[in-house]
Amino acid sequence: MKCEQIAELLPDYLQGSLSPDQHRTVETHIEQCAECSDEVAIWQKLSLLSVEQPSPMSRVRFEAMLQAYQAGRSNQPARHSEWIKRFSSWKVFGWLRSPLGAAVWSAALLIIGVFAGLRLAGPKPPSQDLAEVQKELASTKQLVVLSMLQQQSASARLEGVNFTTRDEQLNPQVLSALLHTLRYDPSVDVRLAALEALSRHSTQPQVRSNVVNALQEQQSPLVQVALIDQLVEWHDREAKPHLEQLRQSPNLNPTVRQRADWAISKLN
């Protein structure tokens, strides 16, 4: 094969995403071609470059930035600036000096005083600010969870699943990401954790249907048994035909088949 053809495959070869056949083709070519093998060598050499660590102050600055941002959010300074500009362009003090101005001014002060007094003395009503902050937390949490579920390391994805268990209610996007994890995550541990997290949300119709579907798809006996147990716990009678179907499938692990039989008898 010529270098130009190999060049098309080389980037995928470097990331290890070629099919075994293509991989072999590239390897054979590299053994004979100095230029292409040098390209691979330089790619590998790049790993020699050091990974640098940011200074410890970086974290401190981050915390400070977070506080400043949140303080800024509750004050909302930006919205007022337009008014301040307009206000200062009026001849404020000119008309305040007139008797009418003085009367208006004192009335305004009185109203402000009474209002402030009421607010400070009485129990604080659930403010809009709090709702705003809660909304903020929810959207940040959603972002973090969704990002964690996409991480390469299984332990990070596990952490992401665990984050979702802190909330009573799941946001639809997080829920669908969690369902995706249950069905397609490569790690058994992460899938089991996702099932456990989802078990609290059995009132959501798509949770049950996904658990039932997962029953047919999953190959790992551990996950299969956990799914069966979950269906029994929910006492999901509709799952019975699916369990029957599962126990018919060839190459089923004997323990799983036993568990399925037990579940079918329980659901009767």
Partner: protein
Amino acid sequence: MLQVRDGAGEMLGVLFDRYQAPLFNFYSKLTGNRTLSEDLVQEVFLRILKYRQSYRPGTPFRAWIYQIARNARIDHFRKFPREITFEPEMLPPVVPSDSAQEKQEVELLQRALQQLPEEKREILLLCRFQELKYEEIASLLGCELNTVRTRIHRALQDLRKNFHQLARGTMLKKAEAAAENIPPQGGRYEV
């Protein structure tokens, strides 16, 4: 209320711990400037807070975060265009290694990487150090997957050329230095 606020901070802290070092390395290898890199990392997290609604669930998160990182850098250099040159004195320290040859190779490689045009350096950093998948890079740069492959191949070719040129240069210098150090041999060839 404070608890709720701390909650948002704690959650974002998880992201910070995970991404600050990769982002810092991306910037420092791209600009050669540690201080600037740390500033830009902070800017990225501020933007994550501000624009978190713009993340579309189901799309690759890393592509989104690096999109923010690229924009933060572009905006910075729009404001301060003079700083755009790579600062060689800020090069990362070479990790002490047993072999002198390896140490020299790392130095040459750093310089070879520096000499690349910025967009080539960037694409190599994204796929080699930030470990983004080609699909993620394509969505980040807004181009076809095959274009990403071609660009990586070309960037590697250029890096290879730079590296060998520098290596030859060093060898020549060494040879010259060695030649100067040879003591005069007292008219060995004189008749």
